[in-house]
C-alpha cells in the first residue's frame, strides 16, 4: 500500500476514533429508543460504523511503524 504521510496518519487516527464513538453511540441509541423503526435505523448505523472502524484499522495496520 502507498505509504501514508504523517498528516494522513493523524487524520486516520481521528477518523478511527470517530467511527468507534459513533458505532457505540448508535448502538446505545438502538437499545434505548422506544420507536421500533428508529431502533432499526440506529442498529444499521451502528453496524456500518463498526465496519468503517474495521476498514480504517486495516489501513492503519498496513502502515510500517
Amino acid at each position: 500500500m502507498h505509504h501514508l504521510t504523517q498528516r494522513e496518519l493523524l487524520m486516520l487516527d481521528e477518523n478511527l476514533r470517530l467511527a468507534r464513538s459513533m458505532a457505540r453511540f448508535a448502538q446505545s441509541c438502538a437499545q434505548q429508543m422506544t420507536d421500533p423503526q428508529l431502533r432499526a435505523i440506529c442498529q444499521q448505523i451502528a453496524v456500518d460504523h463498526q465496519q468503517d472502524y474495521q476498514t480504517l484499522s486495516r489501513l492503519l495496520g498496513a502502515q510500517p511503524f
Partner: protein
C-alpha cells in the same frame, strides 16, 4: 508538537500516546458519547432519559460533523486506496444522514423552513436596496 485534534467534541487526545494499532485501541482517554453519558452530562437536569427525538438530533449532528471531517481527510489524502476507502465511508455517512433526517421529518421533528411568499421576497429585496 502533540496532536490536538481538529475539533472533535468527543475526542481528548492522549498525551504521548502512539497511534492506534490495528490490533486494538490504545489507552487514550476517549469520552464515549453514549446515551447514558449524555444523560449524566453537566447542565442536564437530573438523570431524565433523553427521548427518541433528542437522540436522533444528536445522531444527525454527529453525522454532519463526521462528513465534514471525512471530507477534509479526502481532500488531504495522497494515497489512492486510502482516498477511495474514505470516499466510501463518506457516502455511507451521507446515506445515514438522509435516513436520520427523513425519519425525523416524517415525525415532524425537523421541518425545513417554509419558502418565503413573493410579497415577502419583494419587501426583503427593497430593504436590502436601501440599507
Amino acid at each position: 508538537m502533540p496532536f490536538t485534534g481538529t475539533g472533535n467534541p468527543y475526542y481528548t487526545p492522549p498525551s504521548g500516546q502512539p497511534f492506534h494499532t490495528a490490533g486494538g485501541i490504545g489507552a487514550g482517554s476517549i469520552q464515549e458519547p453514549t446515551a447514558q453519558a449524555a444523560m449524566a452530562a453537566p447542565g442536564v437536569s437530573g438523570t431524565a432519559a433523553l427521548n427518541d427525538r433528542e437522540l436522533m438530533e444528536i445522531l444527525l449532528v454527529q453525522h454532519k460533523f463526521a462528513a465534514q471531517t471525512m471530507t477534509n481527510t479526502i481532500l488531504e489524502s495522497t494515497s489512492p486506496q486510502y482516498r477511495q476507502e474514505c470516499i466510501n465511508i463518506l457516502n455511507r455517512d451521507f446515506t445515514h444522514q438522509r435516513m436520520i433526517w427523513e425519519a425525523m421529518n416524517q415525525r415532524g421533528w425537523y421541518q425545513p423552513p417554509s419558502p418565503q411568499l413573493p410579497q415577502q421576497q419583494q419587501h426583503t429585496a427593497a430593504s436590502a436596496q436601501w440599507s
